[in-house]
């Protein structure tokens, strides 16, 4: 009798339970590569949900990884607030001029109506489309920007830091607006079929704010926000460091954390043991110039350091793989996980089985 194959959903749920599934699960967090698969420009690709559904399904089949990513682009939330999105030919769309230019703009800001905002409706339609295709076999990862990190795009990083340090009342007001939006947006994606929500929160990383500041700001915001989201969440630091605040992140109620390649994955994994599943931490920027051999070595090294005992999903460290990363490298990552990531892990993942 042939063995019953494990689905990606079962694999991911097992590792989230801090147990070892059949192999290390891996998420290739690909957004722009779907446009390549369909031979479309990035702007055209994101113009209809059908393109994204088809692109994600093709990427899933091609790379045999373990998730679908219903994320379009970060400034979709800025678009919802009335802001501009700038498309380029070879990278993720970027936010344009900040929507908040004055303090009065913060006071006048209103929460967008998720269901009736066309750019968000496209993401929800894509999520529903993906759900129709895979049902419960493959996790679908939805994305929200944390209320604490969204202002970087809403008003510019420098002016946001000024606000955080010098205008606590206005800062609190902005957090309330963003929080109401974030909860509504996350729950709409879950209702549309997302399995879990990735809560991007790089401003909470210790690269950007001190732990002391985080506990007063991003931590409180995360605790309040995540408690209102009707499904599992993973907090992603989008390349920022987080080792000193891993226990705090666990205390926000999140199930997993996306970590930086700037930190030792072994130390991160040890700090997260039985509390948080670790997602990471391949260097996406370097990845564009890796050889196939280098890709394999990075994957083997990562599995050797973080794979044991479950609680680990191999991924890039930023939450989005750059458009410039070639197919051969992505394929090499996939082949390497399939080869070296089978549990029980080879005693020497460095090559001597």
């Amino acid at each position: 009798m042939s063995p019953v194959s494990t689905t990606s959903m079962q694999r991911v749920l097992t590792t989230l339970g801090h147990r070892e599934p059949d192999r290390v699960p891996f998420f290739l967090l690909l957004t722009l590569h779907g446009a390549k698969e369909l031979g479309l420009s990035i702007k055209t690709y994101f113009s209809t949900p059908e393109h994204v559904v088809e692109g994600q399904m093709r990427l899933l089949a091609k790379y045999r990884h373990d998730c679908l990513y219903s994320f379009f682009y970060a400034p979709v939330e800025i678009e919802a607030f009335g802001g501009e999105v700038m498309f380029v030919d070879d990278g993720p769309p970027n936010s344009g001029e900040p929507v908040i230019k004055t303090h009065q703009d913060i006071r006048n800001l209103t929460v967008p109506d998720v269901e009736n905002t066309p750019c968000l409706a496209r993401v929800l339609a894509a999520t529903r489309g993906l759900r129709d295709r895979v049902r419960d076999q493959v996790p679908i990862i939805g994305v929200v920007m944390s209320p604490f990190s969204l202002p970087v795009m809403q008003m510019g990083f420098d002016r946001y830091l000024d606000l955080m340090f010098e205008q606590p009342d206005l800062f609190s007001h902005l957090m309330k607006i963003n929080q109401a939006f974030c909860v509504q947006w996350a729950n709409a994606q879950l209702a549309a079929g997302a399995t879990a929500i990735c809560y991007f929160d790089p401003v909470s990383s210790t690269t950007i704010t001190t732990r002391k500041m985080y506990l007063k700001t991003g931590f409180e915001v995360a605790c309040q926000t995540l408690a209102q989201i009707n499904g599992p969440t993973a907090t992603h630091m989008a390349s920022g460091r987080c080792l000193p605040i891993l226990q705090d992140i666990a205390d926000t109620g999140t199930a997993a954390v996306g970590v930086s390649c700037l930190e030792d994955i072994r130390a991160v994994k040890a700090a997260c043991k039985n509390k948080l599943t670790v997602m990471g931490n391949l260097n996406g920027i370097e990845m564009r110039r890796w050889s196939v051999e280098q890709a394999e070595n990075h994957v083997k090294d990562l599995i050797a350091k973080a794979g044991a005992g479950g609680g680990f999903i191999l991924s890039d460290n930023h939450g989005e793989i750059p458009f410039q990363v070639p197919d051969e490298v992505l394929m090499a990552i996939s082949d390497s996980v399939h080869r070296w990531g089978k549990y029980p892990l080879p005693t020497d993942v460095s090559g001597k089985e």
Binding site: T206, N283, P322
Partner: protein, 213 residues
């Protein structure tokens, strides 16, 4: 601990506490023998360099380094107004963000350079062709480019090529997240120098000035 060490410690503490008043007190207590430019060289820049290194290595946060730069810029602008003859004899410099609206890196470098007594043109957010035209028209000799996104970093290659086509002799200093995640990227795009943090910029420019002397 000698007086200068005490001054350095007090200034660093004030900046980390985002305490403008305490930072001003250190500046005002610097003594009659320490001219403003000397205070900048002996206290402000070493402290900013130390904070920058602290961020690069992990223990400090970007928000602390940013606020420190802002406080220093405010103080130094009072001590050394833009037209002050004590400001350095320097090459013509400009700073920009290439095709991106994330200004933090540029704001920090600008603050550190102004704190270091340098003057520079601020081009804000620019595209490749506009940047090249302005550099040529302004006869800029040192161009600082800040980027956040990888595609913007890769466009620096085109800036370099177009400057060469116009025979503009410009030292290209680059910085920003993509360069910190790939230590070969700055050379791949044809930059002359890569700075890992804002406070690396002043020593880099001083070294360049020394070599050209």
């Amino acid at each position: 601990m000698d007086d200068r060490d005490k001054m350095l410690n007090a200034f660093e503490r004030a900046l980390l506490d985002v305490d403008r008043l305490a930072a001003r007190q250190v500046m005002e207590q610097r003594g009659r023998d320490m001219r403003p430019i000397r205070f900048v060289e002996k206290v402000v820049l070493p402290v900013l360099e130390q904070l920058g290194a602290g961020w690069q290595d992990g223990p400090l946060a970007l928000s602390q380094v940013y606020m420190a730069g802002r406080i220093c810029e405010e103080l130094i602008d009072e001590m050394l107004p833009p037209a002050d003859p004590s400001r350095k004899n320097q090459p013509r410099m400009a700073i920009c963000i290439l095709e991106d609206h994330h200004a933090l890196g540029k704001v920090m470098v600008y603050a550190v350079l102004r704190s270091g007594g340098f003057d520079l043109l601020d081009y804000g957010v620019v595209g490749v062709d506009d940047l090249v035209a302005r550099v040529q028209a302004d006869r800029v000799k040192v161009l600082l480019i800040s980027v956040l996104m990888l595609p913007s970093a890769l466009k620096i290659k085109s800036v370099r090529q177009k400057l060469m086509d116009r025979e503009c002799d410009v030292t290209l200093i680059v910085g920003g997240a993509p360069f910190r995640f790939d230590d070969q990227l700055w050379q791949a795009v044809g930059a002359d120098v890569m700075c890992e943090n804002a406070s690396d910029v002043v020593p880099a420019i001083e070294k360049m000035m020394e070599e050209k002397r």
